[in-house]
Structure formats: structure tokens, C-alpha cells
Symmetry: C2
Subunit: 134 residues, 2 copies
DNA sequence: CGGTATCCGGAGAGATACTG
DNA sequence: CAGTATCTCTCCGGATACCG
């Protein structure tokens, strides 16, 4: 989340009945978890069952070891992934998506659907805007 | 969102049937639009009809003039807001959410619902993690 | 295999002052 | 009123090297 900025902004209580205000805060908290560059990719890669570290590194294309570790730690901290260590040699670590993560995945479907429906509209809007703004 | 990092990561085609891969890309593109620190707040503040610049500044608590302008420009560029200038003195500018933005708002409800259901679980998971990680 | 440790660059965001 | 223009700072993310 965008990992960049911290702090959840909110609306003042204006013409707002209260629901918008709450929604802003609440939704922003989800976005903070999910909008970091690699969170979604990792989460999805771990949805089909336990995955090992190296397997994740392969599946999530372009990610560095560092960011994989950091993002995994955050997802684990938020209870979206479970980390299981097998004390063998060589070590074996598995990451498993929790039920909460699976529900999150379902909730993201609406957003994905919106994106698919409007991707072209957005691209068109951008072309128009960029053409009109030299 | 997102502000911070650009570039949409994707999964490699592994055990994935293809849907996960697509979803990652697609959903990330939405998140990039929406996850910048102030996007949601502004969008929500503009959902109830046309809003003027200063009114937005009042409603979106804590935002600076600069970030308000920048975020408005991006939202306009993506076709989520329409900017209407009345050539009067003093100037009057109104921002109106498009239908696309309203659909986006609806799609965010699922995410908000998830957040409300799991906010406490997440907080608990964090407490556990932080307690176990000195 | 599954990580840490370090260094570094760039974008996002804040504060402030000025203007048509 | 509705913005630009600057300057600065933070901190995310990439690259690289090393360790149990």
C-alpha cells in the first residue's frame, strides 16, 4: 500500500450520515494490508494450499527475496497466512492461507469484476486526458 | 496506492489455471487507482453530488492543498471524477463522481464488509504476533 | 533451503508561500 | 476561490551479499 504511506484518513462529519465516514476508515485499513505491491500476488499464490518459500519465489514473478520475506511476515502478522516450520535439514517452511484470507479473496472478486468491466473505459479516459493536457 | 510503487506484478503460469494470474494483474490496477492515501476519501466525499474544491478540503480531514489537487487530477484522469469549471469571479469548480466511480463504490462494499467482520481478528492476530516476536 | 543485513534511489506525501 | 511552485523528508522497494 500503496506501502508507502501510513495513516488512515477520514472524512469529517459533514453532510455525511456517518456511513461514508466509517467506510473510509474501514476500507482504508483493508487497503493498507492488501495494497502493498506484492501482497495480492503472494496471497493468490498461496490460495491453493500450502506453498513453500522457494515455490512462492518462483510463482510470484519478479519479486526479490527481501520483499517476499517482508510481505510474508506482514501477511502472517495480520493472520492472513500461517507459517509452518518443519525442523528438518534442509529446512522446510510452508505458508498456508487462512479462512480469513479466503474470504478476502472472495471479497476481491467484486473489485476484479469492476476492473474488468471498466479497464477499457479508464484507458480511454486517460488517453483523452493526456491528449487534452499538454 | 496506493500510492508508492508502480508496476503491476503478476504470477507465473504455474499450477495456476490462468484465472489467478489474470486476477492479480487486474485487481492490482484497481488498487493502484484507489490505494493512494486520499483517493477513497475524496471519492466518497464526492459521491453525494457535485462538490467544490474548498468543500472537499473541509470534508477530507487532514489533506493538504497539494495532495487534494494531485489526487483530484488523477481521479479525473482515470474518468472517476468530472471537473467542471464555471468561468466566474471568483472561480467556481465542481467535482462530480461518474457512474463508473459509483459502481466502484458499490464494489468496495464487499471489501468493507470483510473488513468490518475481520477487524477484530486482525487486531488479535497482530497482538499475538507482536507478543511472540520480541 | 530459507532466510538476514546493508546500502541506496525514487516516488509519495507534508508544509508553506505565492497567484490569476 | 482554486489552485501552482518549492523544498524537504520519509520510507518503500530493488540489488547485493552473507548466514544457520
Amino acid at each position: 500500500m500503496s506501502q508507502r504511506n501510513t495513516g488512515v484518513p477520514s472524512l469529517v462529519s459533514g453532510a455525511d450520515g456517518g456511513s461514508h465516514t466509517e467506510m473510509t476508515c474501514t476500507v482504508m485499513q483493508v487497503l493498507e494490508r492488501v495494497s502493498s505491491k506484492w501482497s495480492i500476488g503472494i496471497l493468490l499464490a498461496a490460495m491453493d494450499g500450502p506453498v513453500r518459500f522457494t515455490e512462492l519465489e518462483r510463482r510470484v514473478k519478479g519479486i526479490s527475496r527481501r520483499m517476499l520475506t517482508l510481505t510474508l511476515r506482514n501477511l502472517e502478522r495480520d493472520g492472513l497466512l500461517v507459517r509452518t516450520v518443519y525442523p528438518t535439514v534442509p529446512p522446510k517452511v510452508e505458508y498456508t492461507a487462512t479462512d480469513m484470507a479466503k474470504e478476502l479473496y472472495d471479497s476481491l472478486q467484486a473489485l476484479t469484476a469492476w476492473a474488468e468491466r471498466n479497464l477499457e473505459s479508464i484507458a480511454a479516459a486517460r488517453r483523452r486526458y493526456d491528449a487534452a493536457t499538454p
